[in-house]
Subunit: 350 residues, 2 copies
């Protein structure tokens, strides 16, 4: 085992310059009940960018520089919530037979298995993640996918994008034959939402931008509406043939107030992000007069992840990898990601 | 049966002057499957004021002059969603044995019995209500409470205030031992929320204004916090001993953003009104990063109303009647209501 490795160190909250790729970072050593993973692929996600920027704000202080927990991270930190790779060493208490397993990591750490458990920490945020050649992870978060027909690049797309999408669909109880609007449908989470919602038999209306219609249809959308449509609200209602059963949103911003009224009485909107801006104007009457429900969602539960693993092992979902980059090119990857240069996932290969 | 009656006619959306008390209004005649009720008591509610003013706005147009359905009412209209009285005549298809029954009316009309049914109309809004000496109501909305130990004035407090509170607690699944914050705890719905939440074993923290602490404690609140407290958020958290399981809110306004972050991960906030202002600034991150849930609630379902009827028949809840007024004094009653002159319910006696 080498003593040092290449890793992207987050040295502070800030712009791309605070992310420093170095090749003299000590390889971590697995403690009791931990494993050492050689990282083969790590996908790029919005949360990496927001965490780098400290763009999560805090309760009562939307402009605070903070990670998702409302406080600054400790530095240096290795980001990367999506980890695919191979177990190369194990700590005390872990079966040495696991060495050699091809694995992916379940990133969130909860205080219990309950549905309403508290989210304590996330690999790649409060603990080091996959933007490095090696990472140490608690063994119970490391799942064997040796038999999966998916590539390592595809496997690396699952935890954050598909986990977030699965958490959203489950928390909103999306059922077969329901009509669901998915915003940002060509993004990482949006593409996963379309695939997973269509797979459970929902009728999916994908909201996306010019040029990405084919991607949304490829993911399984039944209909596509362009975000730039005149009279967006009327267009969605016409395409849907009436009020929506549900909305899955990662966009937020000014569109939030446009689309909520399109839900039927007691319809559900589930939100897991706000790339167009988190602070919105909100008319509470639109919510309560029609008994609509707004569901906040972050990542997924261990139960949701077990279903994702089943999909991964059977190869019944197919993440779209748009581009891969060596770890040294992380700045290029994040720039391409922020500029939405490619539909589909961008993956680093440490 | 007299041919004409005294009734408060809403002649347009507007100020108190559009409400005209007249004594030459024809007594309505019950059609098939309807009954004629002689109204003995009708409580005053926020929805009467908002509907008179047309203050509900419309989707995409918060300032629109409209009833709760987002369009203006048809005039003239007799308001009054809360109807207690006596059946004095029945239409074809209704058992004549019902004449003489002491009754209350279940105001909302849904398109089905399903939890997510569409709310089509409400007595006192789309159909004439209780601000008159007589009213015609579909028989299935008229429930026998002959044996109730409650007075007619108390019975008239149940449908809107207690129905709304029951709908909120049910939709938010409030359970025993949960810690719930109730805003506007000395108002009609707030008082009912405190009573009903305490009755199901929740620990209730009542948020109210100076002078109303005793009312909140009388309703069953375990602790009272004054809205004027310095560092309101910290005070609530200290009194609660940690994060809240749930919030039941009818106030909205600027306090909305102050109290949402006090919920635990996956905590629920249920909203049924916004007397302090419906259009709020909302940081979506406060929702999604902690998987919080915002539940819109309007009135109640038929199932919720059946439970209320059980309470009414057993006398196991005790609405607080603050003042009664003859129907001719409806303007005084609405003024006292808007000025929050008395804690508890104001009831008209037609």
């Amino acid at each position: 085992m080498p003593e040092s490795m290449t890793a992207a160190l987050l040295t502070a909250h800030g712009g791309p310059e605070v992310l420093q790729v170095r090749d003299d970072v000590p390889v971590p050593i697995p403690g009791p009940n931990q494993v050492l993973i050689e990282v083969t692929a790590a996908a790029v996600n919005n949360t990496d960018i927001w965490t780098r920027e400290g763009a999560y704000g805090a309760a009562g202080n939307p402009g605070a520089i903070a990670g998702w927990q409302g406080v600054p991270l400790q530095f240096p930190r290795i980001q990367g919530t999506d980890i695919a790779g191979k177990i190369v060493d194990v700590g005390e208490g872990v079966d040495t037979g696991r060495v050699g397993q091809r694995v992916i990591v379940d990133p969130p750490i909860y205080d219990s298995e309950a549905e309403d458990a508290k989210l304590l920490a996330v690999y790649g945020s409060e603990y080091d993640g996959g933007f490095a050649q090696f990472v140490v992870v608690d063994a119970k978060h490391v799942h064997d996918v040796s038999g999966s027909p998916l590539t390592d690049e595809q496997l690396a797309c699952l935890p954050t994008a598909y986990g977030t999408a699965m958490g959203m669909l489950e928390r909103a109880s999306i059922k077969a034959d329901e009509v669901i609007l998915v915003t940002g449908a060509s993004g990482g989470v949006g593409f996963a939402l379309v695939q997973l919602a269509a797979a459970r038999g929902a009728r999916v209306i994908a909201l996306t931008s010019e040029g990405n219609q084919d991607i949304a249809l490829q993911a399984g959308a039944h209909q596509v509406v362009l975000r730039s449509s005149d009279d967006l609200a009327d267009t969605i209602t016409r395409v849907a043939g009436g009020p929506l059963d549900a909305i899955a949103d990662v966009v937020g911003g000014s569109m939030f107030s446009t689309i909520i009224p399109l839900l039927r009485d007691a319809g559900r909107m589930v939100i897991a992000g706000a790339i167009a801006g988190p602070v919105v104007e909100f008319d509470l009457r639109v919510l309560y007069l029609h008994r609509r429900i707004l569901i906040g969602s972050t990542m997924h539960t261990p139960a949701h992840f077990r279903w994702l693993l089943e999909f991964a092992r059977r190869g019944s979902i197919s993440p779209l990898v748009a581009q891969t980059y060596p770890l040294q090119k992380i700045h290029d990857a994040q720039r391409d990601f922020v500029e939405k240069r490619y539909p589909g996932k961008l993956v680093l290969l440490p």
